[in-house]
């Protein structure tokens, strides 16, 4: 598209759009440092609500549950999603391909109440004890589809003659993949992991369906608190989550910069 004149209209719509996206979050973060118990009266800066959170056993447990579910499910999802992306991007035509891609693309938009309900019914039918593992499986199922899309679009955009060149120079298909293709999709895989982790950390609905008594995730906790009204402690927790996500994003973007400049002299020969 034309890199044309930046008209006032363009500029205004962009600025308004971005303000709309960011302002509420900024306000939330500021108020998390509010000393006052009344959420809307500014009582000066304080870390009071952070102290409160770190003294709240139940909240900490929920946070730990969320982080571990996030890490395990994101790792599983990255593994499965990358394999699925390879199958779709390099498998050519095979029987059941349409079903496969349909199963992988539709969870991206499927309403969460449906996914949550159906997985719960499966777990009940299998007589599985609900808790950490059921939530982890549910999150893996949802987030691996996102990983698949991210990795697949990177794989299809790659120049296939690179793989041919690797074979021409003596690699069998597996080695060609490991030595030439994999280094080029590493950033997409890392991005996929982050996306999976963050989606898992964010989910209320599916976790509500698939978790058992006594193992609530952080979003479930936050959600039930929020239904009762605004609490300053929630502001602090939300700010911490935002901070964690920001750190992940920054690390990941640094890592991808580094790998693109320093390159892969550490490639496993």
């Amino acid at each position: 598209m034309a890199v044309g004149r930046i008209t006032r209209f363009n500029m205004t719509s962009l600025a308004l759009g971005l303000a709309f996206l960011y302002l509420p979050i900024v306000i939330l973060i500021i108020y998390s440092f509010n000393a006052s118990r009344l959420v809307n009266v500014w009582g000066g800066w304080s870390l009071r609500w952070y102290h409160e959170f770190f003294g709240d056993r139940a909240m900490l447990d929920a946070a730990w549950m969320s982080l571990s579910v996030g890490a395990v499910s994101a790792t599983l999802a990255t593994l499965l999603g990358t394999l699925a992306a390879i199958g779709l991007a390099r498998g050519e035509r095979f029987r059941g391909r349409a079903l496969f891609s349909g199963m992988l693309y539709s969870p991206l938009v499927m309403p969460e109440v449906i996914s949550g309900l159906s997985l719960l019914l499966l777990f009940v039918a299998l007589n599985a004890e609900r808790g950490f593992w059921t939530v982890t499986i549910a999150h893996t199922t949802l987030t691996m589809c996102f990983v698949t899309v991210v990795v697949q679009s990177r794989l299809t955009s790659l120049d296939r003659s690179l793989e041919e060149a690797a074979m021409d120079l003596g690699c069998d298909p597996l080695r060609a993949f490991l030595l030439v293709t994999l280094p080029q999709i590493v950033t997409a895989i890392v991005a996929g992991w982050m996306l999976a982790f963050i989606l898992s950390l964010d989910d209320v609905v599916i976790a509500s369906f698939t978790t058992g008594p006594g193992s609530a995730t952080l979003p479930i906790r936050i959600y039930s608190e929020v239904r009762l009204g605004v609490k300053p402690e929630i502001n602090a927790i939300c700010t911490l989550v935002i901070g964690l996500i920001a750190v992940i994003i920054v690390i990941a973007s640094f890592a991808s910069k580094l790998s693109s400049t320093r390159g892969e002299s550490a490639a496993p020969f």
Partner: protein, 304 residues
């Protein structure tokens, strides 16, 4: 054997594990939803009959099949509550998608016309909120919209209103929340098609005598329709089944289908009716899902 075919075999092998996973945890569960939607409510754990046991063999299966009933679906069509919540879901989804288009298009258009080096930054700025928790973003709005929240404070000090306005638990708050949460999903596909558009096409249009406005409506907009379709589907389908946003921001006098399902499931413990509602919702979503699947496949696989 072509080079592509040499790679195809190991690639297909790689897909076996995710394939089985998705069949087990995505496809098979729908079978259970369907089955339970056809069974009867019971005060038990799990709260439905029949619970058939595969080990009891064929007879048990036929016996169970005989017990299946369409009562739950009959209930769905006879009770106003369900029909109304379906209609409301559709209205909300259509309205929100239109609002999202109206807001998202100018932003995406503005982004695509930025100088190249600014585009990446603008893109980042749009994506980052999407990475931050969606629940937190809704919560942030509750902070602002509540009775003595920031919005009312500002309006009062500016003497625009004389008494605090009720924002929370209204449809406006819900639409605001939906638009806020789904905006990146609308902007990104729109931006993707708009930024791919060849600048020379527009130059050719103006060369052939089109005014900027005409060039937009005759060239840019038609060419961006695939992005419009992708963005609209990406928003419409999940909004139909949305639960958290209406639950937190809208009033409780009319429910969306996702809320009804949740209510039946968690509060009334009526799993069969909840399942029937899910099946009906899914049926409603099949056409847009198929459309979306096509778009996705065309985009990711280059029309293979």
């Amino acid at each position: 054997m072509s080079a592509r075919r040499i790679f195809a075999r190991p690639a297909r092998l790689a897909a076996v594990a995710p394939y089985l996973w998705m069949v087990l945890f995505f496809l098979v569960p729908f079978g259970f939803v369907l089955k339970i939607s056809l069974s009867q409510t019971a005060i038990a754990q799990p709260p439905y009959t029949p619970v058939f046991d595969v080990t009891e063999g064929r007879q048990a299966l036929t016996a169970a099949l005989a017990q299946l009933s369409f009562d739950n679906f009959k209930l769905l069509v006879s009770d106003d509550l369900y029909i109304l919540s379906y209609l409301r879901s559709l209205t909300v989804a259509v309205t929100s998608t239109l609002i999202l288009l109206l807001i998202g298009y100018p932003i995406a258009y503005g982004m695509a016309r930025l100088p190249q080096r600014w585009q990446g930054i603008a893109m980042m700025l749009v994506i980052v909120p999407f990475w931050t928790s969606f629940l937190i973003r809704i919560y942030a709005w509750i902070n602002i919209l509540q009775h003595d929240g920031l919005l009312n404070q500002i309006l009062l000090t500016l003497h625009i209103v004389s008494a605090p306005v009720v924002w929370l638990s209204t449809d406006s708050a819900m639409y605001l929340g939906i638009v806020y949460s789904y905006l990146p999903f609308m902007i990104l596909p729109l931006y993707a098609t708009l930024s791919r558009m060849d600048a020379s096409v527009l130059e050719a249009a103006s060369d052939l005598g089109a005014s900027p406005r005409q060039a937009f409506w005759l060239v840019t907009f038609p060419l961006s329709l695939p992005g419009v379709a992708a963005g609209a589907l990406l928003c419409f389908i999940p909004i139909v089944g949305e639960f958290v946003i209406p639950d937190l921001l809208a009033g409780s006098n009319s429910l969306m289908i996702g809320q009804t399902l949740w209510l039946e499931f968690f509060t009334n413990k009526d799993w069969p009716v909840a399942s029937a509602a899910a099946v009906a919702l899914l049926l409603l979503l099949v056409p847009p899902l198929v459309l979306y699947d096509r778009l996705q496949r065309r985009q990711l696989e280059g029309g293979r």
